[in-house]
């Protein structure tokens, strides 16, 4: 069979790869989309988990190794994959979630869709730490605008400088516990605004449905009323035509020629275990920050001895994840609630963006607060420690018999929780590299992580803990558990745990200290691009997905333009 020559080979089908597929295929280019996992359709009854009742599962939604976020969660993958290890060096404890399915991690994310603000692109100018981006908000704003309109995101225009306005769909009304949070935040002069999430509270086109408020975005939406790469980008792109989809295809390396330019990719067909090659004019990596770095590091050739794009030695460097910490409270005001359907959209309807000035604080970067609670659907774990809050009421904890039914109803939904997500400071010494001795089941060298939080993140976590206590108490809550102290880094999550890892192929103007230019184009090979979060110079106190898609679109416009100018 004659070898097919593609215009574009895209590796990975998540937010960045999905957007690239949509844009480049619609530009009339012949695209190969290569995904390490299987095909996925959330509406197919063989794959659907949305609107299932807990008793449809023998474990009632409990987590499994293959679905660590619960066995109704849409995302197939997890912290550990059979046959695909990674390693940590020394006392590093990096966590790495990988999806293995069409759409990647867009199948389970929280749909929180926040633009970076003007300050987020120039942090070094503000606090002298890290590096500035080579681009600013004005460069990305037109793409945020277009992403808003193409994908759909609800929210509200608040005129906040560093949390920019957008083309928002209207927000869902707050739930009851969220009204208590709003009141609490107001008492402390902490801002609270409608959440910003890529869920269709209003129709945007005739292809995708409008949210029916099951609160199950994490199970993937069968009517495509939330954003996942598959339902919002890849399916529409596939309907357009010139795309060959390669699933269960694990890319090992980008192949290059004597001039050091990419010629295509080599991948393992996981069904046959055979290696295959694809030929293409342009390779677009969107395998996730760490997986794309791994592919580049494994793409060694005489022209690229340290791996493709790695003449600077920066591939894998500046790996960083968002920080996280959380706390919960019992809300006595919400005991014995009236029952009504409060599923709403998945997760929070309101949130608090970063509101303080770090000049007055002992840590350099901010965080936002995500609000949890409500009368969610019972699943495995519901009813555990059923009447533990009796201790706050002077009543006895424990027991048995029908009285427990009253306890279940008494405390159902009487809870308020906060999760903080913050910005860390990228470090040269936090990085992933190839493990010199370990390969995966396909024989591909695996990643080894080196990562330690610094005092910046630990001090930030301490502030998170202090403020969460104040907010929960101001909202009428009785704090649950104990506040983690210095010995536990104030409850700071492990690096990687927030699944916002970025920075491994960062962009910059100086080829000696960055891997790509502002368009995600490798300094060392002009027909290779990175459109995942690897190019992020710094991960703001915002979730990365909206910026991944805006930058991917921007890169695609650049690619199309460069092809027209015959530079590619």
């Amino acid at each position: 069979m004659a070898q097919q020559q593609y215009d574009i080979i895209i590796v990975g089908s998540g937010a960045g790869g999905g957007m690239a597929t949509y844009q480049l295929a619609n530009a009339g280019l012949k695209v190969a989309l290569v995904e390490a996992g299987a095909y996925y359709d959330p509406a197919a009854d063989t794959q659907r988990t949305q609107l299932r009742y807990p008793w449809e599962s023998p474990r009632r939604g409990a987590s499994t190794r293959l679905r660590p976020f619960g066995d109704f969660n849409a995302c197939i993958g997890g912290w550990e994959l059979d046959g695909e290890p990674f390693t940590n060096k020394g006392d590093t404890d990096f966590r790495w979630w990988r999806a293995r399915m069409l759409g990647g991690r867009t199948n389970h994310w929280g749909r929180i869709s926040l633009r970076f603000g003007p300050l987020d692109f120039q942090r070094k100018d503000i606090d002298g730490l890290g590096e500035n981006w080579p681009i600013g908000y004005d460069d990305v704003k037109p793409y945020y605008d277009k992403v808003d309109k193409l994908i759909g995101v609800f929210g509200s225009n608040e005129g906040l400088y560093n949390d920019p306005d957008g083309f928002f769909l209207p927000a869902p009304k707050p739930r009851l516990h969220e009204l208590f949070y709003i009141n609490g935040a107001r008492k402390l002069n902490v801002p609270v605004i409608p959440a910003r999430k890529s869920i269709l509270t209003k129709r945007i086109n005739n292809e995708r449905g409008v949210c029916f408020y099951c609160g199950q975005c994490s199970r993937a939406c069968s009517i495509h009323a939330d954003f996942s790469s598959t339902t919002a980008l890849i399916y529409p792109a596939l309907r357009g035509g010139q795309i060959d989809l390669y699933t269960n295809s694990m890319v090992r390396e980008v192949t290059t020629n004597a001039e050091g330019k990419a010629t295509g990719v080599a991948f393992i067909n996981k069904e046959t275990r055979q290696e295959q090659h694809l030929q293409g004019r342009i390779v677009v990596l969107a395998a996730s920050a760490c997986s794309s770095a791994r592919i580049l590091l494994n793409s060694k050739s005489p022209q690229h001895e340290n791996g493709l794009g790695n003449s600077s030695g920066h591939v894998g460097r500046y790996l960083h994840d968002s920080t996280g910490a959380s706390r919960a409270a019992f809300l006595p005001d919400l005991m014995n609630r009236d029952m009504y359907n409060e599923d709403g959209v998945e997760g929070m309807h309101v949130y608090t963006p970063w509101w303080l000035d770090n000049k007055n604080l002992d840590f350099p970067r901010g965080y936002h607060l995500e609000i949890g609670g409500g009368m969610g659907m019972p699943a495995y774990g519901f009813g555990f420690a059923v009447n533990q809050y009796n201790e706050f009421l002077g009543e006895r904890v424990g027991g048995y018999g029908n009285a427990l039914r009253d306890d279940v109803r008494k405390f159902y939904g009487a809870r308020l929780s906060i999760a903080c997500r913050g910005e860390s400071v990228p470090q040269y010494d936090n990085y992933c590299e190839l493990d010199p001795t370990v390969v995966d089941e396909w024989g591909i060298p695996v990643l080894r992580f080196n990562y330690h939080w610094t005092e910046h993140e630990i001090k930030q976590a301490r502030h998170m803990q202090d403020f969460m206590e104040e907010l929960l108490e101001a909202s009428g809550g009785i704090l649950l558990g104990t506040k983690p102290g210095a010995d536990q880094d104030y409850g700071l999550t492990k690096p990687g745990e927030i699944i916002h890892e970025v920075g491994t192929t960062r962009m910059g103007m100086d080829a000696r200290s960055s891997v790509t230019n502002e368009y995600g184009q490798l300094h060392d090979a002009d027909n290779v691009f990175v459109v995942d979060a690897g190019t992020f110079v710094s991960q703001a106190d915002k979730n990365p997905t909206w910026t991944i898609m805006a930058l991917s679109w921007r890169t695609c416009d650049y690619i199309v333009d460069q092809i027209k100018q015959q530079n590619l």
Partner: protein, 241 residues
């Protein structure tokens, strides 16, 4: 030891002493329990809810695995029945198939295997020592006496701590198993998991809790009567449709 047949719609095990029960060698000559037989609704043998081939294989293997002895499953059934009895309009643990759920979840979450097996053994030793027979073979009143001693975490008696931990685990599994069934949903009054249009907290509920929606906030929220009208914005990012 006899393995259990999973192919019944109503499970029925005789609440009678087994010759050479696992712990008790004496003292179980008479069955004095109030119920001569434990009956419970059987849960399905297989499930279909969007599984991958690997998941189907894993779950089929779990279903096939035999872990509990009949005596242990009977003890689980008796405990589930004590924790959520069937003398209730919405049914109890046995009506909701709890012994089957506990059996599955203990096989699935293997860190429960030892605590449940060891807990049952502890319970039998305790029952023999204090009442002369395995837990399932003492009288109902005696069983409740034992439960009264181990059902509360504020009890400080060192001799009871293992039993208290075991009972707490059994209570957790029983409640979670029950409230994740249709009967449990009814008992709780849960009304979700169905397509609907969220339009805020009902007015009476707001009033009861002394909270209200601010007009300024509501202005940012969706007008559900216009949800199907395609979104359009002006150049100032204002929604105009």
């Amino acid at each position: 030891m006899k393995t259990l047949n999973r192919r019944e719609t109503l499970k029925s095990l005789l609440l009678a002493p087994l010759a050479g029960g696992i712990i008790a060698s004496t003292g179980c000559a008479t069955s004095t329990g109030a119920a001569a037989r434990m009956n419970w609704t059987a849960l399905p043998d297989s499930y279909s809810y969007g599984r991958t081939a690997v998941e189907m294989q894993t779950d089929a293997e779990l279903m096939q695995e035999s872990y509990f002895r009949e005596h242990e499953l009977l003890t689980i059934a008796v405990l589930c029945d004590i924790i959520l009895p069937s003398d209730h309009a919405n049914g109890g643990a046995l009506d909701a198939g709890l012994p089957d759920f506990v059996e599955f979840i203990v096989k699935d979450r293997t860190n429960f295997k030892l605590p449940i097996r060891g807990g049952i053994a502890w319970l039998d030793v305790y029952a023999i020592e204090h009442f002369g027979a395995d837990f399932i073979n003492i009288t109902e009143a005696q069983r409740l006496t034992v439960c009264d001693r181990i059902a509360y975490p504020d009890v400080t008696d060192a001799q009871l701590q293992a039993g208290i931990s075991f009972f707490a685990l059994m209570r957790n599994l029983t409640l979670t198993g029950y409230y994740t069934t249709a009967a449990g949903f009814k008992d709780l009054g849960y009304q979700g998991n169905t397509p609907n249009v969220w339009d805020g907290v009902p007015a009476a509920v707001l009033q009861r809790h002394g909270v209200a929606y601010e007009a300024e906030w509501l202005a940012k929220c969706v007008d559900q009567s216009r949800r199907d009208i395609p979104a359009q914005w002006d150049d100032d990012m204002k929604l105009i449709s």
